[in-house]
Subunit: 140 residues, 4 copies
Amino acid sequence: MTMFIEKKTVSSDLAERMIQAAKERAAELGIAINVAIMDAGGNLLAFSRMDQAPLLSIDIAQDKAYTAAAFGRPTHEWYDVIKDKPALKTGIVHTKRLTVFGGGYPIRCGNDLAGGIGVSGGSTDQDQACCEAALSLINE
Amino acid sequence: MTMFIEKKTVSSDLAERMIQAAKERAAELGIAINVAIMDAGGNLLAFSRMDQAPLLSIDIAQDKAYTAAAFGRPTHEWYDVIKDKPALKTGIVHTKRLTVFGGGYPIRCGNDLAGGIGVSGGSTDQDQACCEAALSLINE
Amino acid sequence: MTMFIEKKTVSSDLAERMIQAAKERAAELGIAINVAIMDAGGNLLAFSRMDQAPLLSIDIAQDKAYTAAAFGRPTHEWYDVIKDKPALKTGIVHTKRLTVFGGGYPIRCGNDLAGGIGVSGGSTDQDQACCEAALSLINE
Amino acid sequence: MTMFIEKKTVSSDLAERMIQAAKERAAELGIAINVAIMDAGGNLLAFSRMDQAPLLSIDIAQDKAYTAAAFGRPTHEWYDVIKDKPALKTGIVHTKRLTVFGGGYPIRCGNDLAGGIGVSGGSTDQDQACCEAALSLINE
């Protein structure tokens, strides 16, 4: 019997550096964002709101990061999965914190799901670009 | 480093006068409304419910004001932004307090976002007319 | 009539630097903490959880920062105020988010209340020491 | 059979005037308060926050008004009722919105319970004085 399993999870240091990378990309795009990083347990690890970023996005960024960390799929892939399944499309969006539009990505250590990042404040494309800038740190 | 930034926020006096102006417009239109004013931090500053105004609108008025204060956009503009983006249209309406129909407006001091007003109780057009009556005090 | 009032609020830059200072002090003390910074409107501006910091403290740190930002008093002063007033002592602790033990401090720009910091993870004394290390950046 | 009963409830006009009276008393006392008026149904009728009043008191004022409107007793009388009954003292304070310290009063039309007023921002004595100033309008 395997009594314990090992989980990879994002470190506090990586979380801080991802947030800086996302904010630098946002500054290049001329937008102000909220960025959140969740660990493998779906718990808040780091968060930052840029000056002038919308208050409404504080929770959206965290919910995107949570959705990605808790399911292992970028949030922008959800809509394609549910769009032709009327029951899912109508119902699953009521799941607490589930976000079905772009701006949330899982953070992986190799194949292991180790957390999630969520960005909110720009357009969906811009939010995704900020996440990708942060994720590129991992493959460097 | 800039340690502190300066934000304009609606004064208590202006909030009271905006509420009176919105209610006067409602009386002219023959409707009974709930009116809420949020400050720049999205916190309730003033609220009034006219006799006979619907109870269901107590929270709607506050959520409209919050949405406008927390995102800087009139609530009636949201639907045009999301209507052709299926994932957003399906998903973003589940954001806590986000209201995507008319009756909420940001309150601006010049270009600065300084709060929000929300009205609920009449038709969308009537609610918007009450907000606009209140906002006209600022430009007088 | 004064239509708008001006409020100072913590900048995103200061928030980040305060968090780093609090974490450095925690490392010196040999503890792992959660740190949260709220702006003048009581909205989350920045957050960081150190590796090994307790999950239970994620919300406690945020609630301490909120209490300080929303009332303008360090959280460790609350108990002295309420301890000899039985009704307050019994009742006010049920206020949503109100924290009456140490580890939360208002952030002031001169006399203006501009936000709050909250730390949770160590003893009350240690949490306070981390806050104080962060606050010392403002007076340098 | 009596099919319907008649309830008195505070009018919107009285609510506004009570709020003004409470704020004038607060200004005399040199404090900044939040004031809320609930109708006979326990629903928010009017609210005002003075400039510089604590954000933490936004909900406390509303909860005091609700407690008074929903039970017909000033909030400062609760503690005497529960203090020698350990089960009540331990348990009833967990009732949602119930406030057991001063600053909330029922609004009566003759003997009928017609609503409640709640004030928060000063000491308990000061909050009560503001409520009493508002209530004195009814007996004039």
